[in-house]
Every structure is written in C-alpha cells, then in structure tokens.
C-alpha cells in the first residue's frame, strides 16, 4: 500500500511538478494596471488598515489638541488682560487728578503708580476740560484761583474719594455722600467706554467727541445726578464683581462620529435572468455595518448649520448559496469490438458517446465586504433648543468618492460562486449620489464640547452595478451614530 501511495504521489509530482501552461496576457495587463502609483498607494493603506486608522486618529487628536491648546491659551490671555485692566482702573482717580493740566491739584487718599489715564484734556481752563469726565469719577477740583468747581456728573461706575481743597474750603457740593468711597468697590470694574462694555486699551485716550457725547457737563451737574450715579455705580460694581471668564466661541464646530448601519437594497433585472436575480436575493443578506467619519460645521444662523465632511461605511454581506441543479456529462470514447474467442478486433474502431444526466447541489458560503467613501454635505436645523440640549433635523446628499465590493459572486450558471476581481467585477467604482435625512440630539457638556446622537437614513440614487451586469442595485442604509462635537 505504501508503494502504491508513493506511486500516486510520484505520478502527480512527476507529471505536474514542472508542467506549464501559456501565461495569460490579460493577467499581465491586470497586474500592470495594479502597479500604478495611485493603486499602490491605495493598496499600501488597505494592507495596513490598522496603521491607517491609527494615523487618522492621531491626526484628529493632534488637530483637536492644537485647537484646544490655542483656544485655552487665548482665554487665559483674555483673563490676564482683564485682571490687569481692573488693577489699573483702581488707580484711576489719582491718575485723573494728575492728568488734569495746569495748576489744578486734587488731593486723594491714595497715591499709586500712574498707569491708566482718565482722559482729560490738559488745558488751563478747568470749565472746559472737566466735561471730559465721561468715564472718570466725580472729582471736585479747584482752579488756580481757588474756586472750586462742582464735580463732573459722570456716567461711569467708579467712585472717587472726596477731596478737600488745600485751603480748607470744602467743595460746595458733596457728590459722594451716598457713595462708598472704599477703594475696594472699584475692584473688579473695568475702564469702559460710553456703554461700559468694552475695556479701553491701556493708555488709550478717548476722543473728544466721545467725551462730549457722554454728557459730561460741568455746568449742569448737580447732587441728584451724583446720587443716581452712585446708585448705578453700586449696581455695576456688584455686576462687575461677578464677571466670569468669557469664551470666545466661534461659528465652526468639528464632529468626530461613528456608528452602526442596517442596510437593505433594491435589486432588479436589467437584462439578467430573473432566476439569477432571485438566487441573489435568496443567497445574499446584510450584516450590521459600520460608519465613521468627521465633518466641519458652520453655524449660518442660530438655528441653521451647514456641515460637510468625509465618512467611511463598511457593510458586510453574507453569501449563503445553495442550488440543486441538473447536469449533463458527455464522455466520448473510441475503441474496437473484440471477438471473444480470438480476441481479434471486429470491424473498424467505433466511437461511443455516453451521456450522463444527474442532479447535484452546489453549496457556497462567503462573506463579502462593501465599502463606501462619501463626502456628505448637509443642512442641520435645530428644532428645539435649550441652554444645553437641542434636537435637530438634517437633510442633504452624499457624493460617493469610492465604492468597492470585495468577495464572491454567484456564477451566472448558478453552479457555484466565483471571486470578484477588478476585471470581472460587475460593480462600479463609485456609487454616485445618495440622499440623506435624519434626526438627532445634541447635549452640551461644556462651552466647547458636546455629544450628539443621530439617526440617518440614506437612499442611494444611482445603481452600483455596471450596465453590462444586467442588474440594477441601490442601497438603503439606516444608521445610528454617536459623535463628539468641538466648537472652535
């Protein structure tokens, strides 16, 4: 038996070991096509899916970190600037006094470094210059002649310690009677413009017309006005004391998302036999797929956002093919009929044709993968919006950059399956357009970060089959995805 085994092995080894057929030219053409730089680059990343995914993730993390670092740094700088401004404003009264020109003097209870200036025109006539107290304090001043002028009715939020004349004559008006002259009240306030909203840059002088527009009128100043001012000052000081860091949030957001897909398809004949279409429908079923991608969003209005990005979808298709079919086998033999007695051939050689009919069953199982690389462009409309929570609807279209189906296909004779390759695949390399619509929710975790859950329905418009395939096939995909949104 051992020898027989060796004989069989030897027979096949000897005959087939070095047997050669003619090299097929079309295979070389296919190889040449696959040696182009683009194809090789695609193959490089296909063969290293892990590296590609890791690289993409690292890139995204890098971009996000850089953006986060940049914005955090900006906020820090803003806060520091704000604190500096506050400290400067504390010294305002002194600087204001110092900045008043001529021989005018103001006595204050504090002497600090001359930093910011209350803009006052340094002129000799105090009647003309005191109208500059737009953002300054109620400052009693005296001129050279010793006449004390009423304090300026100001719009600002600051209180200035009341001053006494050097000659011991009190100011005729005491505008600060209701004010708290404690310098601490000044803490946290900002050097502001007319509207008390925007800090003025350090050392910058407001324009004359701005000052006048602020209503600084020495002649019309009275104590009632001063009281009102004091009340306003008090309120504003309280508001200023609770100022929190303000994030400068932009209109752009960045989403990173991924989820699961449930696919179905519509398949119809465009020349292919109905039995083949039926066999495909019976044999092929979808597994749960996956989608992940990123997109950049722009808030066009409070409720409308435009978004675009890149997404990858991979669907799995189970192929369970089983078909019982009839076959015909024809054997042609040529021989002679021997005389049983003499063992001599009778007549000339004859040819016999044996035809065998039978039934056999072809069974095949395979897993196919279907992948899409899409550029979705969508509009997002906020239906409900609260401080942290919003519900939105989306609509749009996706342009397919790349479509590919790998795996196996049922033979047209329904006697088995064959592997798809670039030459024989009936599928196009792009799936064309897909319409998209969906609904989702967004929950804000922080001013910059939010999470979102979204359900999307995608309807393929174009058939993914080549015209010569004799079939038309479009996909329908229902997706559920989670995402992280970052606001720049």
């Amino acid at each position: 038996m051992s020898t027989e085994k060796n004989n069989i092995d030897e027979l096949f080894r000897h005959k087939l070991g070095d047997y050669s057929l003619e090299a097929p030219d079309h295979v070389w053409k296919a190889i040449e096509a696959r040696r182009t730089p683009l194809y090789r680059a695609i193959n490089y990343f296909k063969a290293r899916k892990g590296v590609a995914v890791l690289g993409t993730l690292l890139l995204l993390i890098g971009i996000s970190s850089a953006a986060l670092w940049y914005t955090t740094d900006s906020v820090l700088q803003e806060n520091q600037a704000e604190q500096t401004t506050t400290a400067t404003n504390t010294n305002t009264p002194i600087q204001a006094a110092n900045s008043i020109g001529g021989d005018n003097t103001v006595e204050t209870t504090r002497q600090t470094a001359p930093i910011a200036a209350i803009p006052v025109q340094p002129v000799g006539n105090i009647n003309a210059t005191q109208s500059t107290a737009n953002n300054a304090t109620s400052i009693p001043v005296k001129n050279n002649s010793g006449n004390t002028k009423p304090p300026v009715n100001t719009n600002n939020s600051e209180n200035t310690p009341t001053t006494n004349n050097s000659d011991g004559v009190n100011s005729p008006t005491e505008p600060n009677t209701n004010n708290t002259n404690n310098p601490q009240n000044i803490e946290g306030t900002l050097l502001t413009d007319d509207n008390n909203t925007n800090p003025l840059p350090q050392g910058e002088q407001p324009k004359q017309e701005d000052i006048l527009a602020a209503g600084g009128d020495i002649e019309n100043a009275d104590t009632d006005g001063a009281d009102k001012t004091a009340e306003a000052n008090k309120n504003k000081a309280q508001q200023n004391a609770t100022i929190k860091p303000v994030y400068m949030l932009g209109k752009y957001t960045f989403d990173l998302y991924g989820g699961v897909d449930f696919a179905s398809r519509s398949l119809s004949s465009n020349g292919a036999p109905q039995s083949y279409i039926q066999a495909k429908q019976n044999a092929e079923s979808f597994k749960v797929g996956k989608t992940f991608g990123f997109r950049v969003n722009y808030d066009a209005t409070k409720f409308l956002t435009v978004r675009a990005g890149l997404q990858y979808t991979q669907l799995g298709e189970k192929l369970n093919f089983e078909n019982k079919y009839n076959y015909t086998h024809i054997d042609t033999n040529t021989g002679v009929i021997l005389d049983p007695l003499t063992q001599q051939p009778i007549g000339s050689p004859i040819t016999t044709i044996d035809t065998t009919y039978g039934t056999t069953t072809a069974k095949a199982n395979a897993i196919n993968t279907i992948s899409f690389i899409d550029v979705p462009v969508q509009l997002e409309w906020k239906l409900i919006k609260t401080n942290k929570f919003s519900v939105f609807a989306t609509t749009g279209a996706a342009f397919n950059l790349r479509f590919q189906q790998d795996g196996y296909q049922i033979n047209t004779q329904l006697d088995g399956i064959h592997q798809l390759n670039t030459n024989t695949t009936p599928y196009k390399t792009t799936a064309g357009f897909t319409l998209m619509g969906g609904i989702g929710i967004n929950y804000q975790l922080s001013p910059r970060y939010s999470v979102l859950f979204e359900t999307t329905y995608r309807q393929g418009i174009n058939s993914v089959m080549k015209s010569e395939a004799g079939m038309q096939q479009t996909y329908r995909i229902f997706s559920g995805s989670f995402g992280l949104r970052y606001r720049f």
């Binding site: 092995d9 096949f12 295979v27 070389w28």
Partner: protein, 189 residues
C-alpha cells in the same frame, strides 16, 4: 539577461523586467494556482495577486536560494489565503474507505497533465490542498498543519482520503483504458 539581472531590474521597478519575469514564471505558476483553486478564473486571480506580492516584496529575496522556489512559495501562500477567505465547499460525495487498488504506471503514464489536473480539480477542497502540499510540493504534515491552521492528524487523514479518492478515479480510468490497451496490443501483434 541573467536571472539576477532580471530580479534587480524588477527591484528597480523596470516594467520590461517585470514583464519578462512574468512571462518566465506565469505559465508554471498558473498550473500551481490551478491545483489549489476550483477553476481557471480563480487560479488567474490568485496568479495576479501572487505576482503583485512578488513585485512588492522583491527586495526581500536574499539571492541565497532558488528564485523559482521563492516565487512558488508566494503563489502557494496566496492560494492558501484565497482558500481560507472563501469557505467554499461543494457538497462532498461520500467516499468509501475500502479502496486498495494497485496502480499501474504503464496506464497512468499515458494520462496527460490536463487530465491529471482535472482529476485533482475534482478532489474536495480540503483533500486537494493537503495532497498538493504534501505529494507535489513536498511539505511535511507539520508544515501543512501550520500553513492551513489545522492539526497534523487532520492533515494525515485528509491526505489518506485524497489518495483513496484519486485511486478510485484512476481505477475508473483504468477500467476504461485497459480494454483499449489490450486492443492496441492485439492490433500491434
């Protein structure tokens, strides 16, 4: 152009060298692929993948062994990968284990390579793989077990079954051929 020059040309991505290499080995490798696949089309797919791999990995060839052996090994690996990827199994026909048929080299030597290929092609998938790897390529059961991710015992069992299946097929041929051979002998006398 020597083989070494051809290989170096392929490493430099010279298309003419690659084509020459293909022309030199594709015919033989197509037969290798056909032995491991179900049909010619599938064999050509494996051949194509195999040559792409060869060109991609040409730099790794160390020039210290047979280049043809290296090419063949890549083709076999591609064929095995293809086999693993598709769990295709045509319904197996029951194979009896009681065949013990003496082989007659004089008859079987007349079988053409195409006929032998056809016989191998009719083997169930698992048998075909093991028989090819063991009987024709000369791998050990341990190597086959590693390559196909099966037990050594399974490899042995598959090989035995493959041999019995082939014996049965050869016997059928013998039954057809023997009378014709006798007739030839008589005619020649």
């Amino acid at each position: 152009m020597t083989e070494e020059e051809l290989i170096k040309g392929c490493i430099r991505e010279e298309r003419s060298c690659q084509q020459k290499l293909y022309k030199t080995y594709a015919g033989k490798m197509l037969v290798v692929c056909m032995r491991y696949t179900r049909n010619r089309q599938e064999a050509e797919d494996v051949l194509q993948d195999g040559f792409i791999r060869i060109f991609d990995n040409m730099k790794k060839f160390a020039f210290n062994g047979s280049f043809e052996g290296w090419v063949r090994r890549i083709m076999i690996n591609c064929a095995l990968r293809n086999f693993r990827k598709s769990s295709y199994q045509k319904e197996q026909i029951g194979i009896a284990d009681d065949y013990d048929i003496p082989t007659d080299a004089t008859i079987y030597d007349k079988l053409s390579e195409q006929e032998l290929l056809k016989i191998i092609d009719e083997l169930p998938e698992g048998y075909k793989m093991v028989f090819n790897l063991y009987a024709i390529e000369g791998f050990s059961h341990k190597e086959i077990a590693d390559m196909m991710e099966i037990n050594e015992g399974t490899s042995r069992s598959q090989l035995n079954k493959a041999r019995k299946y082939l014996q049965k097929k050869l016997l059928e041929i013998k039954e057809i051929e023997a009378p014709a051979q006798n007739a030839d002998k008589i005619l020649s006398e």
